[in-house]
């Protein structure tokens, strides 16, 4: 696999460069290999052996992509960018695909594959026989059982809740090559998306320079990279969404009709996007009829397949609810440490800021933003706005092209956006290396923590997770994050728009200065982050990584369906204990128990007999041990009064 990756990466410069630039690219590549080999050989001499060789190899591969991206940014050579980037995406996705198969497919993926298998082998959608003989399916998941609420037929048929269109698309690939073939089908849609995206950028007036600067981050970075090599309908949907937008903008019915049809067939929720397209495409009765037929078709198919036009959903989900869940979902999708754009795909944060400059954005961006409103309004108040058991940003991957266009437009207009590119690129490289090297960690339980927070918490045994905004389990950082975001968006919206010439002059003059200051601010923020991370917080969540558990167990269990709907906790019985950092003071302890229990905290026994809360004292700031002296208890959290 390493040799294949090396060959593919060696081919990549030929895709973009010719002549002297190609020689330079190959020389850079050779230099990187020479440097890496030198470091590799010499590390043993200096005794630096405490690293994972696989991660190092992945890092070198990603560094090679970064080198090509840097050269692309600096040169004006490549033309016909759409095809070149599509070929590059095809090459890179080809080598990422086997890397992702280091772990078994997860989330909804095995269910989609099971439907595909059923279509290919039994020519039906009934999965009952597949579940009966699950060990011999290609899912690699002998533990797979039907999802709760999956439709059942009158004669014991077992159907999947997932729409059958994606499995249908994967049939040829699966029939030829099994699971890799199915994955390759999705990767093919990823490649089509890349080509379509570049074309769309060009249609919307984005310059080649900007496309060359941003496109490597878009196609080789999260979330597109990871969704393009996994069985989720998101990447095919993103391709259809872009094609539909291009079709509507170009007034080409032969483009938007099939794109919209495929989009709504992929997933019922995408009908909400289709609905918003209707006012833009209906100019005569015939078109209106076509549009309505397209929107009705998926419901008809689902009704035939499962007996219900809305499958496991209900019309009630479309009804407005109280405003708070909307704010939770909205800020969560943008800022959440585990599931938000800012931490999982920071490039697209620029797309959010682009919304604040609505009037100066390309028309395609505005059309796309309007088309996404109904879908987002329905998504935001859902308890599962973060995507559940899936790689991050699942529900908004379909809008990633839209955010990418916004980011590109902002990049052309704002020096601050350009200055942000370096830290964004560094973070994106980290996410990419992490996701390729350890694909199973793309799935993170929605517990209020994230991978970085958990890692640092485990290392320092201190609560670093609280410093990341969490809207899954709302914390103080989430409030601060939301206020900062709003404060940044407001001036962004009212900044004076410049003419193209004066804009370029300003960009050239002060970009370096802005970059410097930004680095200084980020450095100061990092120092504060590590300083406060080591101090105890005001709230201790007992299930978190920073708490050192001696006995007891997590409740609900880690893989409880929709675990985020429960208040998590740690079950303790007599003799179990845990320790954690805490400030001196009086705390409210939140717990549940079926009978009286006694705990000892800070050397003092506390009788707990009136759930759900009790007052406990921590005598001194530092590491505190909490022991269950008697009874059984489920400890939720402890908050400073």
């Amino acid at each position: 696999m390493i040799a294949a990756a090396a060959i593919v990466l060696a081919i990549l410069p030929f895709v973009f460069f010719r002549g002297a630039e190609l020689v330079r690219a190959l020389r850079n590549q050779f230099a990187l290999y020479a440097f890496a080999t030198g470091v590799w050989v010499f590390t043993r001499t200096v005794g630096a052996t405490d690293f994972d060789p696989y991660i190092a190899i992945v890092f070198i591969a990603v560094a090679q992509l970064a080198l090509i991206a840097l050269q692309l940014r600096a040169t004006a050579q490549p033309r016909n960018l759409a095809t070149r980037f599509a070929v590059a995406a095809a090459l890179v996705y080809t080598i990422i695909l086997p890397a992702q198969l280091r772990s078994v497919i997860d989330g909804d993926e095995p269910f989609y594959l099971l439907v595909t298998e059923s279509i290919v082998k039994d020519h039906d959608l009934d999965l009952a026989n597949q579940y009966r003989d699950i060990a011999h399916t290609d899912t690699g998941r002998p533990d797979l059982v039907p999802q709760g609420g999956d439709p059942k037929g009158p004669h014991g048929e077992q159907y999947s809740r997932h729409e059958p269109f994606l499995p249908l698309l994967m049939v040829p690939g699966y029939a030829l090559f099994g699971l890799p073939g199915a994955l390759a089908t999705i990767a093919l849609f990823g490649v089509l998306l890349v080509r379509s995206l570049v074309r769309w950028f060009e249609d919307e007036g984005i310059s080649d320079e900007t496309i060359r600067a941003l496109m490597p981050l878009i196609i080789f970075g999260p979330p597109l990279l990871f969704y393009a090599v996994r069985i989720w309908p998101e990447v095919p949907a993103a391709f259809c969404f872009v094609e539909a937008l291009r079709g509507v903008r170009q007034r080409r019915a032969q483009r938007w009709i099939p794109a919209l049809l495929a989009l709504v067939m992929l997933k019922l929720r995408f009908v909400l996007i289709g609905v918003m397209f209707v006012p833009f495409v209906v100019r005569e009765r015939k078109r209106a009829l076509i549009a309505l037929s397209i929107l009705a078709l998926p419901m008809l198919v689902i009704w035939i397949a499962s007996g219900s036009a809305t499958s496991v959903h209900s019309w009630r989900e479309l009804m407005p609810v109280a405003p708070m869940p909307y704010l939770h979902g909205l800020f969560g999708l943008i800022l959440d440490g585990a599931a938000g754009i800012a931490f999982q795909a920071p490039l697209y944060l620029l797309g959010i800021f682009a919304l604040a400059r609505w009037r100066s954005m390309p028309e395609g961006f505005r059309l796309g933003a309007i088309a996404s409103v109904l879908y987002l309004v329905t998504l935001l108040p859902r308890a599962e706005w973060h995507g559940g058991w899936s790689p991050p940003l699942r529900y908004i991957v379909v809008f990633i092209p839209l955010l990418a266009l916004g980011a590109a437009a902002l990049y052309e207009r704002s020096q601050a956006a350009r200055a942000w590119l370096a830290p964004i690129a560094i973070w994106t490289i980290g996410l990419t290396v992490h996701g390729i090297a350890e694909p199973w960690r793309l799935f993170h339980i929605a517990s209020g923590e994230n991978a970085v927070g958990e890692w640092l918490s485990a290392m320092y045994q201190s609560d670093f997770s609280r410093l990341f905004p969490s809207f899954i389990r709302p914390n103080f950082a989430a409030i601060v994050g939301a206020i900062v975001l709003v404060m940044l968006l407001i001036p962004c919206a009212f900044v004076r728009q410049q003419t193209a010439d004066s804009r370029q002059q300003t960009l050239d003059r002060s970009l370096s200065a802005v970059r410097c200051l930004l680095s200084a601010v980020c450095a100061a923020a990092l120092v504060l982050f590590f300083h406060f991370g080591r101090l105890p917080g005001d709230r201790i969540e007992f299930e978190d990584t920073h708490v050192v558990h001696h006995g007891g167990e997590l409740y609900p269990t880690q893989f409880q369906v929709a675990r985020f709907l429960y208040r998590g906790g740690w079950l303790m019985k007599r003799g179990d204990s845990m320790s954690f950092l805490a400030k001196r003071g009086s705390y409210i302890l939140f717990y549940t128990s079926t009978g009286p229990a006694v705990i000892e905290i800070g050397g003092k026994a506390v009788h707990l007999d009136t759930p759900p809360m009790a007052i406990v004292d921590v005598p001194a700031t530092g590491r505190v041990t909490l022991t269950c002296v008697d009874g059984n208890i489920n400890l939720d959290r402890m908050e400073l009064r």
């Binding site: 440097f35 470091v39 630096a48 052996t49 405490d50 640092l456 200051l517 680095s519 200084a520």
Partner: protein
């Protein structure tokens, strides 16, 4: 040239970066303590973003060699990024990073000669790599050698100007040198260690120092395979000088400290054939002790050591350990 606004911003950034790194220091090695200086260097290289990984590395990597190497790699990337322009300035900073850490070991006037020489070579060559290589390998003791070396180098550089030193391989070489700056002394004086690396196994310490003419019999512990030896006060003896005999077989070993920066240039010793030393010190003061591994005769229960009576009076054969 940067305008005044850029200059002020860079200075402010350098100060903030240095303060941030100073607050972040977690470990006591000279490399960790030099983080504020490294922060200023990366800002000067116009790669201020590299300050962020420096802070993160200092806070998250506990294993010392891995941490220092990670710091070195970040610095290497910053230098590689900057090496295509302002060659004399890059050479100046590179020599500072390679030779001025730890600062308390720097003999300023000697190092200033080397610094000036490296900048001159970089200026003439319009490329930093050769200057940095010269800066790395130039001896500070005796200073006149450094002066002569750089005069010759500057003259040669006029002839070598046509050789492009900003290509990919030159940058890779520069990066590789900088990546190992936490052990720059070893690179300069014990570069053989990077090719023929010393290794250590479990040891039973002996710590005998035998004068010329002395003999000694030592019981060999079970499972011992080799004897670790080195010389003391023998740095002026030529390579391959027999220091003594073990059961009649000659023992050759270099001086234990011949790779120290003060002794290296005057020494006539060679890197051990079967090296068993370990890296000591950091930065330009890093060196490897000259311990040599001598394989024991197969099945020997005891060994008889005889020290060469022809050695200088103050010379010693050090029997360090069984391995």
């Amino acid at each position: 040239m940067p305008d005044r606004r850029e200059l002020v911003t860079s200075i402010v950034t350098a100060v903030v970066a240095a303060l941030a790194c100073s607050v972040s220091i977690q470990f006591a090695t000279p490399i960790d303590r030099a983080l504020p200086f490294l922060a200023v260097v990366v800002v000067a290289l116009n790669a201020p973003i590299a300050v962020l990984p420096l802070i993160v590395i200092e806070n998250v990597i506990v294993d010392e060699p891995a941490r220092l190497l990670a710091i070195g790699i970040v610095m290497a990337i910053a230098f590689a990024y900057a090496s295509f322009e302002r060659a004399p300035f890059v050479a100046f900073l590179a020599v500072l990073v390679l030779r001025w850490i730890p600062l308390h070991d720097v003999v300023i006037w000697r190092e200033l000669i080397i610094l000036a020489g490296a900048v001159a070579v970089a200026y003439v060559m319009n490329g930093a790599t050769l200057a940095v290589v010269l800066g790395l390998f130039s001896p500070a003791w005796p200073a006149k050698v450094a002066v002569v070396l750089f005069v010759v180098a500057v003259l040669a550089a006029f002839r070598l100007r046509r050789v492009k030193s900003s290509g990919g391989m030159a940058v890779a070489l520069l990066g590789l040198i900088i990546a190992f700056f936490p052990w720059s002394g070893v690179m300069a004086r014990g570069w053989m260690a990077f090719i023929h690396q010393p290794r250590q196994a479990a040891r039973i310490e002996l710590r005998y120092a035998l004068p010329p003419g002395r003999t000694m019999t030592i019981d060999v512990p079970e499972h011992a395979e080799a004897l670790i030896v080195s010389g003391a006060n023998v740095q002026r003896l030529p390579c391959g000088t027999v220091l003594g005999w073990m059961n009649g077989a000659p023992i050759t070993a270099p001086d234990w400290g011949f790779m120290r920066r003060e002794q290296f240039f005057a020494s006539r010793n060679c890197y051990p054939r079967n090296p068993a030393g370990r890296i000591r010190g950091y930065g330009w003061s890093a060196w490897i002790d000259g311990a040599e591994r001598i394989l024991l005769p197969y099945g020997a229960k005891s060994i008889r050591i005889a020290v060469n009576p022809q050695l200088p009076k103050n010379a010693l054969l050090q029997i360090e350990a069984f391995e």
